[in-house]
């Protein structure tokens, strides 16, 4: 393996990690400020200008909190669970292309703005998010708390169910793009001056299904049953404190970022947009703007909607979204054969 490539990957990984962690930190601030705005209150605005140093304060607080392990907990699994939930959440970001190939000064070959690209990129991301469930299940089991256990069970059932609808909603895109590679999927949406996004181009239904199941996949309102504070106190992370809790927290927000990035790549054309062909530097900006739209949507939903009940959630997933996704596959297949 050429050393040059190894160095390039390491640098990209570091940059990606830093970007992801910063986004996660500021997403929490963004969420609290936006919620404050929607709910006619202030939100955190004391630490630094506009509360911009709040994430730092939160981080420090997490580190210095007492780390509690319940006496009756299964110690090994209890410690493993947060790590197991965080690692897949961070891993998925390596596959996301945030921009096209670009010329960078002092390097004589174009650099692609993603860490790596595999020919089964979409599936790989689904596989990794699927592994994240185990962290939640483990946490629920290991805490030896009934609320945690119920949260863990709810969560695993929910994730498994909605993963199905989500995967099915993607199939249409895959048929249209003819590839599972995220880079190629983005490249496929470059027409119409960078506006031939899948959402406009035969996949609006798939987009809506994906959007709903992505909210469910990340355990966010109105599908935040695993941690429904009014029923299960805090669900699977009831017993967790300090950095272990922070790891779950980061995992949740990282998952939100990844899901938003996935939605952007699959349906909103990734870094494609008007003028990108002439000026590739615009790509990452388009990408971030689209991602922010989805992240805002998450917060907006949280402020507007009550929480579904467990059975309603399951019914919705299995009896409504999944059949709809199957219909979408049929439509997409027809479109792919007839029109493309």
């Amino acid at each position: 393996m050429p050393l040059e490539l190894l160095v390039e990957w390491t640098i990209k990984l570091l940059i990606g990690f830093v970007i992801l962690m910063t986004t996660v930190a500021y997403l929490s601030l963004f969420e609290r400020r936006m919620l404050g705005f929607m709910q006619m209150r202030q939100g955190p605005n004391r630490v630094g200008p506009f509360g911009l140093l709040q994430p730092v304060a939160d981080g420090l607080k997490f580190i210095f909190k007492e780390d509690i392990t319940p006496l009756a907990a299964d110690k090994f699994l209890y410690v493993m669970a947060p790590a197991l939930s965080l690692v897949p959440a961070l891993m998925t970001f390596v596959l996301i292309p945030i921009g096209g190939e670009m010329k960078i000064p002092f390097i004589d070959r174009p650099i692609a703005l993603h860490v790596t690209s595999v020919n089964v990129g979409v599936l790989a991301i689904l596989a990794m998010t699927g592994m994240g469930v185990y962290g939640i299940v483990m946490a629920g089991y290991a805490s030896n708390n009934k609320y945690s256990l119920m949260g863990g069970l709810r969560s695993s059932a929910q994730l498994v169910s909605y993963e199905l609808a989500m995967s099915m909603s993607i199939v249409g895109v895959l048929l249209q793009a003819g590839s599972l590679d995220l880079v190629k999927i983005v490249a496929n949406q470059g027409g119409w001056g960078g506006m031939q996004w899948h959402v406009f181009w035969f996949q609006p239904l798939g987009f809506i299904i994906f959007l709903i199941s992505m909210v469910a996949e990340t355990n966010r309102a109105p599908f935040d049953l695993p941690e429904a504070e009014s029923e299960l106190v805090a669900g699977f992370h009831t017993e967790y404190s300090s950095m272990k809790f922070a790891m779950f927290f980061i995992a949740e927000y990282a998952n939100m970022v990844t899901a938003s990035a996935m939605a952007t790549v699959l349906f909103l054309g990734g870094w494609q947009g008007p003028g990108v062909a002439q000026l590739p530097l615009l790509g990452p900006f388009y990408f971030v703007a689209k991602m922010l739209f989805f992240l805002f949507l998450y917060i907006w939903l949280r402020a507007s909607l009550p929480r579904l009940r467990y059975d309603q959630l399951m019914d919705f997933g299995w009896k409504f979204l999944l059949p709809l996704a199957l219909i979408n596959i049929v439509i997409s297949a027809t479109v792919a054969v007839v029109l493309l």
Partner: protein, 378 residues
């Protein structure tokens, strides 16, 4: 099903392989205080449940027996601390009835204005927590915005925001402050628009409907036999409101409607309380228009002694029929004062409403019963 066995220390016998006993509370975010609900679950389904109360018991009724009549009144503010004004009205009203004191009209109208404002505050808090229990985070904070305005009026009037106390046996201890009327009117003017905001957030929201329609149903017959009152009773279509059936103060002179439900479910109870808020605002506006001048205190003896005998008096508190049973031996202290707390009796219907539903429904039903533990445990 027998009522007792769930609350016990012998957990072994309760654990079958499929069943799980979940102790919800007393420190739980949505049991509205220190209520402990012991749930017997099959997966997420509630097979049986039992309420464990008494965590907030302060022996209020025993304290009453050792206090002079005027000294008792402030204790009432601490029963249903969400609706302290109503509680105060009940106590002074009972003693006035027992002593046959006719209180001046101005005091009556002021009392009605304040109790109706208090009903609004109580219902707003109910709406806030009920919405939060079902996940409507924003409504929670919005409702506090209106409640804050009422509490500001209270702060000016009573000098307190929570344990408001200005009613004396025989009238009011002080008159309305300057600008009271304007402030109340300003609030009443903005309120309907705000109420509509909540209704747009909830009334046609599919998730809200799914969580409330058909949840915690109780039939009219059951509601009557369980002794329910307030919105849980009227939600089942029983037309009973103490303000109409046994008018106290000046309610007989005022015009208002009693909203009734049909299905007796959580959604009907929600609609009724929303409509009650409109009616309360209407009552406040009417009472302000008709507010007479004159004294605010009737002639009351220096030392209050209630003639020997027994008396039951009740008012329509925000939570339901709040009653007080007074036994007097003719002395300066009551022989016995027994409170009929609507929350306590309404909570008795929880088992009937929630068994067979899901855990999330229990939370929704507790929210729709609108209980206050200070009143239940006394």
């Amino acid at each position: 099903m027998n009522a007792v066995p769930l609350v016990t220390n012998e957990t072994e016998t309760l654990f079958d392989s499929d069943e799980m006993v979940l102790s919800m509370g007393p420190q739980h975010p949505s049991t509205h205080g220190v209520l402990r609900v012991v749930l017997k679950l099959d997966g997420e389904r509630v097979i049986d449940l039992d309420c464990d109360i008494g965590y907030l018991h302060r022996g209020a009724e025993k304290i009453f027996e050792n206090r002079l009549y005027p000294m008792i009144a402030p204790y009432f503010d601490r029963l249903d601390y969400i609706a302290a004004v109503s509680n105060g009205l009940l106590y002074v009203g009972t003693i006035e009835r027992a002593m046959k004191i006719e209180i001046p009209p101005r005091a009556q109208y002021l009392r009605v204005i304040l109790t109706e404002l208090n009903r609004l505050a109580s219902h707003l808090l109910w709406l806030a927590t009920h919405a939060l229990d079902i996940g409507g985070f924003t409504v929670f904070l919005w409702a506090f915005r209106e409640r804050e305005e009422i509490l500001k009026i209270f702060e000016c009037f009573f000098g307190a925001r929570l344990t408001c106390h200005a009613f004396r046996i025989g009238g009011m201890s002080y008159d309305a402050y300057d600008g009271f009327e304007a402030q109340v009117r300003a609030f009443c003017d903005t309120f309907p628009a705000r109420l509509e905001e909540y209704e747009t957030m909830l009334n046609e929201n599919r998730i809200w409907l799914g969580r409330t329609v058909g949840v915690g149903v109780i039939t009219a017959a059951d509601a009557i036999s369980l002794g329910l009152s307030g919105a849980p009773l009227r939600g089942s279509g029983v037309d009973y409101d103490v303000r109409k059936t046994d008018p106290y103060e000046c309610y007989a002179d005022l015009d208002f409607d009693i909203p009734l439900g049909e299905n007796g479910d959580t959604f009907d109870r929600y609609l009724i309380r929303m409509e009650e808020m409109r009616q309360s605002r209407r009552l406040v506006m009417q009472a302000l228009d008709k507010l007479p001048g004159g004294p605010i205190m009737a002639k009351v003896p220096k030392v209050i002694k209630v003639p020997p005998g027994e008396l039951y008096h009740s008012i329509e508190a925000p939570k339901g029929e709040l009653g007080l049973y007074l036994v007097s031996d003719g002395g300066t202290k009551p022989y016995r004062l027994r409170v009929r707390p609507p929350s306590f009796i309404n909570l008795g219907a929880l088992r009937k409403m929630a068994v067979g539903s899901l855990v999330s429904d229990v939370v929704a039903v507790i929210g729709s019963l609108d209980i206050v533990l200070g009143e239940i445990d006394r």
